[in-house]
Symmetry: C2
Subunit: 337 residues, 2 copies
């Protein structure tokens, strides 16, 4: 298969590209490099020993995107393009809604024009909002009590894809609800390269370990969890990447949603200790106020994906810390350094 990967130069995109290439698929990456680096694509090519077609365009700019894709053949799309910082989305809501929704709308119209019917969409466990129960399965209510435009844009894109499928029954779409992707390719050659202060826990810890930041801020330690810090379901990015390819290989009918998570929760302090062990570095931290909108515990029930996609996670939190450390310690400045 020849797969169009929107946002393919990013953290999840670059790892997904590698898995696709290793399984013999051809890859076309579309990216505007607004929050990623062409170096990631070069490293993917090196690691795989194969070349990748690269299209630099903003997908939300529908006319330019359609023009850029005019002569490009592809059989399926994995749609990862979008803005992803929760905090930034609160500060710049109209930008987040515009980029994330317009890019999906443009893509759906391009796919329909071109007769490409297979779509895998990068959604998020954020669509579940404040959990009614844990672990959450795909029947958990969605779109209630979401706390930021990033999460709402994921929910809205899911709804837009569902409505598009009702009007265009040939569309086969898979909505992948990510829990917390961490880690890196075990080579340490590609990984998460956040701009500015990392929003996510593990890249922040990694930057503390490598000496780039002084200490970790732990947001709250009075949650009703074993050690009081928030519990999340961390999934190795290589497991996540394999989940995308499993979704692509599955012959879905209509729109199906799947949790991509490990099914196991880890607290902030457990991640800190695991990273200290993997890296041999101390991770000083300070407990600060909990963030509004944060919840105590988010853990996936991944049984539907296990069963229907014949996919499950196989990598541990310790491996994720080891691989994240390999990436961070050999690329302390990310791709640009």
């Amino acid at each position: 298969m020849r797969v169009l990967l929107t946002g393919g130069a990013g953290y999840i995109g670059s790892h997904t590209a590698l898995v696709l290439l290793d399984q013999g698929h051809d890859v076309v990456i579309l990216d505007d490099f607004s929050n990623s680096n062409p170096e990631a694509v070069r490293r993917v090519e090196k690691l795989s020993g194969r070349s990748v077609a690269l299209i630099e365009v903003d997908l939300a700019d529908r006319e330019r995107a359609a023009e850029a894709l005019k002569d490009v053949e592809f059989d399926a799309v994995i749609h990862l393009a979008g803005l992803k910082s929760v905090g930034e989305s609160v500060a710049m809501p109209t930008k987040y809604y515009r980029v994330n929704i317009d890019s999906t709308l443009a893509l759906l119209d391009i796919m329909r024009d071109r007769g490409v019917t297979k779509l895998v969409f990068s959604s998020s466990a954020t669509v579940y909002g404040d959990p009614e129960y844990v672990p959450q399965d795909e029947l958990h209510r969605v779109g209630v009590g979401l706390t930021n435009p990033y999460g709402w844009s994921k929910f809205m894109n899911e709804q837009i894809i569902r409505d598009t499928q009702l009007a265009w029954p040939e569309l086969e779409a898979v909505l992948l609800r990510y829990f917390n992707p961490v880690g890196a390719h075990p080579s340490g050659r590609i990984g998460e390269d956040p701009s500015g202060i990392p929003n996510n826990l593990m890249p922040f810890i990694a930057q503390v370990a490598v000496g780039k930041r002084k200490e970790l801020s732990v947001f709250g330690d009075t949650y009703p969890t074993p050690d009081g810090t928030g519990v999340r379901d961390y999934i190795h990015v290589m497991d996540l990447a394999e989940g995308h390819v499993a979704a692509l290989n599955n012959s879905a009918v209509g729109v199906a949603s799947y949790n991509l998570g490990s099914g196991t929760g880890s607290s902030v302090l457990e991640v800190v200790r695991a990273f200290e062990q993997a890296s041999g570095q101390p991770i000083p931290y300070a407990v600060v106020d909990a963030r509004p909108g944060d919840v105590a515990e988010v853990v996936a029930n991944p049984e539907k994906a296990n069963r229907e996609l014949n996919w499950r996670t196989s990598r541990s939190l310790a491996e994720a810390c080891r691989d994240s450390w390999a990436w961070q310690s050999s690329n302390p400045g990310g791709y640009t350094a």
Copy 2:
């Protein structure tokens, strides 16, 4: 006040413009005439004896819209621009999402750039979905079980406005949730001019009364209502228009939502009989299957608007039928004939 009316040439826009002008406000109408007619604006000018500034641009085309508004002063915005056919939204979801969401995002960015902080937004009782209770107040849950992209786009725009206000606290926004607007200005000079087959009950009845259509289709007569046909809250468009001006005059803080409805439900057959009386014409009808997604009863609890906006409906269903008939009988082909 100088008020920018987006979609101001449409059914609700033209009546709102008239009320604004009659109350001494200045009006700037922005419309792309994709589903309206400049003749409506000319008639508003004639009826009011005042002139209206007219800007012809697609608001969803953010750069052109910003350019067109560059030298135009305005103190407040009533945002009515958008696509509104439920059935068409099911058939063309990406178009509906794009037009309705992009126009709101463009408007919010333009307002912020220009320092205009007062917004009244045209929402819909559709955001309540399948009613949990009737009559519905503003505390009724929203965004659950909506059945079409038109309704979802209203819900999404409400959320976008709320998130924008959190990032931009000076914004004062009022979300008006319309129930079923009907009727026309009592002069019969302006009114609802749907293109193609009318989606809404009263214009359909009016076209049957005037001989343009053979009979009315009544969608279902086995609902749990007194006569088995669906019950809705019909609100005279002049009452609705006055609600917009009341919202504009109110000094809201943050984002407030209000139902604009009469608080009284009428069944399809009651509307048919009222129209027969008002017009003196027989309205033949045939009962056909209920439409998927339709619900038995939707009626507003308008007490919050009564109390906080000092607004209430004052016109009856009989008056709405009389005014609708005055419009339809003197303009059998709408504005274009």
